[in-house]
Symmetry: C2
């Protein structure tokens, strides 16, 4: 609750930041503006010399050396450099140095999440990763904690904000995908090279994380079939509209517990106009989780951008500061499942929030 | 994660259940069917003698005496008797007896939540209450934890599944509200006396809990303006439809931090057809949370019924079993705010998920 921080965080929690890009600078601004139970002590960035003047906080140590962070008295290391290496190595080293870690790194969590969570538990430290999937949309907590009392059988989700911004721009303006991309870039919603977004690789890594949380399965991102969204045109969208729908990049996974069969793919597919996915525009993300006892649960939120992702990071820092000895469950994942061939044809009828009354 | 329970819960967590109604019997069935890290040890119900044959679990002790539960070796007491007293007394007594508590009791949490959470923290025990608001919809975790790193300014939500089932039945069949109520009763979605649901008192208690979590304010349910939904007719719905909308019972709260002014009400209002609220039918619940950095976050799910509510209960039991010494934050709530007069006229434009692209 909002009033809690004053009381519970007697000692200010010391934070070291790895990476000062879009998300890192947003986190740094939040941690250094106004009264806060957190103290930003270190920022590591390979271009520390150029960037240090962009933050007006007197007592932050800028560095390019990970050793300086590992040897410091920081309590929590926030990893925002992206990519698998050296990020995974640095997270491992930070845990071994007795620090808790918050990361937004979907590639590391998809490939090494279970091993790193096990290491964190052995160290009596925490590894939290809400920001790795869905920006400010709290999907990691919803699946890993809020629905832990149910058996999840299916996930359908928009997990890539860049691609969703491009598709909904195409839909609204009938422009080319290159024009939509240029627009997304001008809004800070697309990288210079958006291929991992449009191809589906970014969403596949996020879906692999959700398969671990929801089904207890170790799924490599490369096992997830992807079909690119890069070739979708305004004409495709017009055809979808004529058929009562629109096109979204959907990440889909369903698991049949009886036969241990997983279906998992990322592809541009037609969604009904009255579905939550058609209503998800711009850089927003949305997820529809189907479970045995609770039926359909929806979460949706701002899926991209520095400020939204910083909310997930700071919520994770809050959780660590509130309870420094909290246990973040380390999963035991099974690889004993069959992968079903992907037809990119989910049963769309269940994607609509409307139900018979 | 799904695989965790085997490893982390070495000692089976012993559960005592207070109340064997719709939700209690659903929880009991879940706890006693198939392998489980939990052991249901006691069921207290004032009609224990009549009900004991309805559960085929050999080693459960049925009782009508709270003392028997307090003196037992149960680790977690699940309170599902409803109403303020004796529920609040029994929760207090269970915490004092060294037990953690899971409750679905919105009336107790709205009136005594802060004091009970403080007591739990002093006792080194946990009080969890996801099921008190929104059934399986994880709104308590979303506001209290997932968005803890942001500043929430507004909540709009459907929080009463019974009223929503009645309204969407009216909408679909143009029947009278009495016929819609009879239908809801036949589906187990309405009590014999649904006045607390339709009048808005049930949603007001839930909204008071959310105001504590979101704004750090101590709001008495009686301070929240309510307007009854009981007089809505098929004609009202037809008029709303002609104006491009439909009618839902909405719980609304917004807080202006600059002037410390709270607006909070529950009323039947017209919502746009393309909003998440119009798309929320039957006993579903939905919430739209607006915050400074993350913008709009949505959660929606099954808001009523034994099985859905049992999911929230068992997720809370999971969280306790996973980490028996976890800290559940006890809030320090402020009463230093002004209540603004209610006009029951929110700015509906922002209730649509669609945004400009």
């Amino acid at each position: 609750m909002r009033g809690e921080m004053k009381r519970l965080v007697n000692v200010r929690c010391r934070i070291a930041l790895l990476g000062f890009g879009t998300v890192g600078s947003a986190v740094a601004r939040r941690l250094t503006s106004g009264p806060s139970p957190f103290q930003l002590t270190h920022i590591l960035d390979r271009r520390a010399a150029c960037k240090r003047d962009s933050l007006t906080a007197a007592d932050v140590i800028w560095t390019t050396r990970i050793e300086e962070v590992l040897e410091s008295d920081a309590d929590v290391v926030v990893e925002l450099i992206g990519g698998v290496e050296p990020a995974a190595d640095w997270i491992r080293a930070a845990l071994l140095a007795g620090k808790s870690v918050v990361t937004a790194n979907k590639q590391v969590m998809a490939r090494h999440g279970a091993a790193l969570l096990t290491l964190a538990a052995r160290q009596g430290r925490q590894l939290r990763f809400e920001a790795a999937v869905g920006g400010a949309m709290p999907i990691v907590r919803t699946i890993g904690d809020g629905l832990a009392g149910d058996r999840i059988s299916r996930i359908d989700a928009i997990l890539n904000g860049t691609t969703n911004a491009v598709l909904s721009r195409l839909e609204a303006t009938h422009c080319s995908i290159d024009d939509a991309l240029a627009d997304a870039r001008s809004r800070g919603l697309a990288e210079a090279d958006p291929s991992a977004d449009l191809d589906g690789d970014d969403a596949a890594a996020k879906l692999a994380i959700l398969c671990a949380l929801a089904f207890g399965l170790r799924v490599e991102p490369a096992q997830i079939d992807v079909q690119s969204t890069a070739n979708i045109t305004a004409l495709d969208l017009a055809r979808a509209r004529a058929a009562g729908g629109t096109i979204r990049q959907i990440a889909h996974a369903d698991y049949d517990y009886a036969t241990s069969t997983l279906t998992a793919w990322v592809a541009p597919v037609t969604v009904p106009l009255d579905s939550i996915f058609a209503g998800t525009t711009g850089p927003r993300n949305a997820a529809l989780v189907t479970a045995e006892h609770s039926g359909e649960t929806v979460v949706a939120g701002t899926g991209a951008g520095g400020n939204a992702t910083a909310v997930a990071i700071i919520s994770d820092i809050n959780a660590i500061a509130r309870d420094r000895s909290a246990i973040v469950p380390a999963p035991i994942l099974s690889t004993d499942f069959e992968l079903a061939p992907s037809h990119f044809e989910p049963a769309w009828s269940s994607l609509s929030l409307a139900e018979a009354v």
